[in-house]
């Protein structure tokens, strides 16, 4: 297991959250995302526990695109990947974001 901590600038959407939400399940080719309020409204915090070593550069690229794509400032995303590929990570994050919006 490798742990990544990343804080990225992102816009804030006041209508989002704040209830805690668990999204996704850890299993083969899948992963788990937990969304909570974060410390800074202008930034998004990512805590990633990853099974893939030496993959942090790719992780950072995936998360940077996500933080640019959606206004997720003021949120913390805790992610347990289970050896998931970037495609699955992006899809799950987008789903977590969409669930936040609709809840």
């Amino acid at each position: 297991m490798e742990t990544l901590h990343l804080e990225l600038p992102s816009l804030q959407d006041d209508t989002l959250f704040p209830q805690t939400l668990l999204h996704g399940v850890v299993s083969s080719g899948n992963l788990e995302v937990l969304v909570e309020p974060g410390p800074d409204a202008a930034r998004c915090v990512f805590e990633v526990q990853t099974a893939a070593h030496g993959f942090s550069e790719v992780w950072q690229a995936v998360l940077r695109d996500f933080a640019t794509r959606h206004p997720v400032g003021g949120l913390t995303f805790s992610i347990h990947d289970a050896g998931a590929t970037p495609a699955v990570v992006s899809l799950r994050l987008d789903q977590a974001y969409q669930s936040l919006r609709s809840s």
């Binding site: 080719g29 790719v58 998931a84 899809l91």
Partner: protein, 552 residues
């Protein structure tokens, strides 16, 4: 004037055949051979250096005959040249390890890929070439005609007529080439019966048969458990159906054997139907009886299927759907690899399948370091037939896109590669340089083992979008189009953002949103069957999955 040479003998092959048969007499009663006598029979009739086709298909295996050949004395039987489509059994490899065989011409070695690479490196084997099936079959009639073939059939009668059962596969083409060039045809059968359901190989073409101690091995190679289909595969299937099947009106096609295409099969009756595509796409198929095709057949999407081989467990279902499948008067499936490969080449408008690696020219390969997998039918199905002349709307549209503003004199087959950008962390599908090049150097090959050439590929589908390579006007554009759907792989991240956006504006690259697809809709709920049990149910109980797939 050249007078005929008086001393030239014109039937040496027939004389050699007679000599072989003469030497075999002590080990057979007519054409029937007892299992215990098979090794002696082979030792008696084979000669060093013989070209032998040991029927290995990708499903049916002449396993008893293979074991018998491997049990021959290397002092008596050696330096054989094997010409067979698939190396699948451990006993196939033993032949080379023992020196019984030395040279090999083949198509596919999936299950033995590692062991084959080791044999090449230790110089225990000489590989002539790795072929696509149809290419190897062609050579059976030109320069690789077997002197002896060892084949697998379902049943024989007393005279030696053979019934091949649903898994015909390569047998007719092997026997045709051998029997009509003074070769020896030896069959292993599962049973001897008084009356065959139908005669697939007439007794006059068969020299010997043996009732094997156990039925020949058949691999359920085309069964994909829907439980393992991921949401990403569902997303890619949606893109393929909407962006390619519907867009080109693809009525005649062939699918690969992976989960990506199984997802498409299971989405046709749900997502495909919701797009109004029933009767407009995917009507005529060159395909084995994939269990995952059952829901689309039942929904009336699929009208006709011709098959290379069969699939374990599909026998009763196929027999109950003769309007869809090719069946004999006895009711059972009639498959034929040579004819189905021909159909895939000339009569289909699209091939869609997956691969392990793709480079920036669109060349794809399933060869990875230390493994010689071979090609099977993919290079044939996944290529544009330059000899094709008949038109169809899909073929014409693809041809128009390729020729651009130039005069159109031909169409173009759609050759679609559907791949996730990463196979798993650390294994990107998109690479600057295929492992195939390294393998070529390590193995001393003439060419890198490329499965599908980039200039035959029309579309690349990934979770990030569809790249239409027909619309690319230069190698640079093609490379950027591929980078533009290569996701977070090093190849994808090295894209020129401006050029890629430009390609997107021109419709060369289309994202899910450009196709009107919401990625949130990509859930497993769209699959017409989510388990093997669902497939059994969809078949009305006719599909009988093999034991390893009975997981409920």
């Amino acid at each position: 004037m050249n007078a005929p040479q008086p001393h030239r003998v014109w039937n040496q092959e027939a004389q050699r055949r007679q000599a072989r048969l003469q030497r075999s007499v002590p080990f057979a009663r007519g054409k029937a051979v007892a299992p215990a006598d098979m090794v002696s029979l082979l030792e008696a009739l084979l000669e060093p250096g013989d070209r032998v086709c040991l029927e290995g298909n990708n499903q049916k295996q002449a396993d008893f005959l293979s074991e018998s050949l491997a049990a021959c004395s290397p002092q008596r039987v050696h330096d054989l040249h094997l010409v067979q489509s698939v190396l699948a059994l451990p006993s196939h490899m033993e032949l080379f390890e023992k020196g019984i065989a030395r040279r090999l011409d083949f198509s596919f070695a999936g299950p033995q890929a590692h062991r084959l690479a080791r044999l090449v490196q230790s110089r225990s084997i000489e590989i002539g070439a790795i072929h696509t099936y149809l290419e190897l079959f062609g050579r059976y009639f030109i320069d690789l005609t077997p002197q002896v073939c060892l084949i697998a059939a379902q049943a024989a009668d007393a005279e030696g007529n053979l019934y091949l059962g649903p898994n015909t596969e390569d047998t007719p083409v092997i026997v045709e080439a051998t029997a009509f060039k003074s070769g020896i045809v030896i069959a292993q059968v599962n049973e001897r019966v008084e009356h065959l359901p139908r005669v697939d190989i007439p007794a006059g073409w068969v020299d010997f048969f043996v009732v094997a101690p156990s039925p020949n091995h058949i691999e359920p190679l085309f069964t994909r458990d829907p439980r393992h289909i991921t949401e990403i595969q569902v997303l890619m299937a949606m893109m393929a159906i909407k962006g390619i099947y519907a867009e080109y009106g693809v009525e005649r096609l062939n699918h690969g054997i992976g989960f990506d295409t199984a997802a498409i099969e299971l989405l046709l009756p749900t997502y495909g139907a919701s797009l109004g595509l029933k009767g407009r796409v995917a009507r005529h198929w060159a395909l084995n009886p994939h269990p995952t095709l059952i829901p689309a057949i039942e929904a009336g999407f699929v009208e006709r299927v011709h098959s290379f081989g069969s699939e374990v467990g599909m026998e009763a279902y196929v027999a109950a759907r003769p309007d869809v499948f090719f069946t004999g008067a006895d009711g059972s499936l009639r498959s034929n690899r040579a004819f189905c490969q021909t159909a895939g080449l000339y009569a289909c408008d699209m091939f869609i399948g997956s691969t392990l690696q793709m480079d920036l020219a669109g060349n794809s390969s399933t060869a990875t370091l230390g493994r010689i997998t071979g090609f099977g039918g993919a290079p044939n199905m996944g290529s544009d037939a330059r000899g094709r002349r008949h038109a169809s709307p899909a073929w014409l549209k693809a041809g128009r896109e390729r020729s651009g503003s130039g005069t159109q004199v031909r169409g173009q087959k759609l050759v679609v590669q559907t791949v996730e950008t990463w196979r798993e962390p650390h294994h990107p599908t998109f690479v600057e340089r295929l492992d195939a090049w390294q393998l070529m150097e390590d193995m001393g090959m003439d060419l890198p083992p490329i499965m599908i050439y980039g200039d035959d590929v029309s579309h690349v589908v990934t979770e990030e979008g569809i790249a239409n390579l027909l619309l690319c006007r230069s190698p640079e554009e093609r490379a950027q189009a591929i980078r533009g759907v290569a996701g977070y792989t090093p190849v994808g991240r090295a894209r020129d953002q401006v050029l890629v956006e430009n390609l997107r504006d021109r419709g060369v690259i289309r994202r899910p949103a450009d196709l009107g697809i919401d990625v949130r809709d990509a859930t497993r709920d769209l699959l017409a069957a989510r388990s093997i049990k669902d497939l059994v149910r969809a078949s009305g109980g006719l599909y009988q999955p093999p034991k390893q797939f009975r997981n409920w």
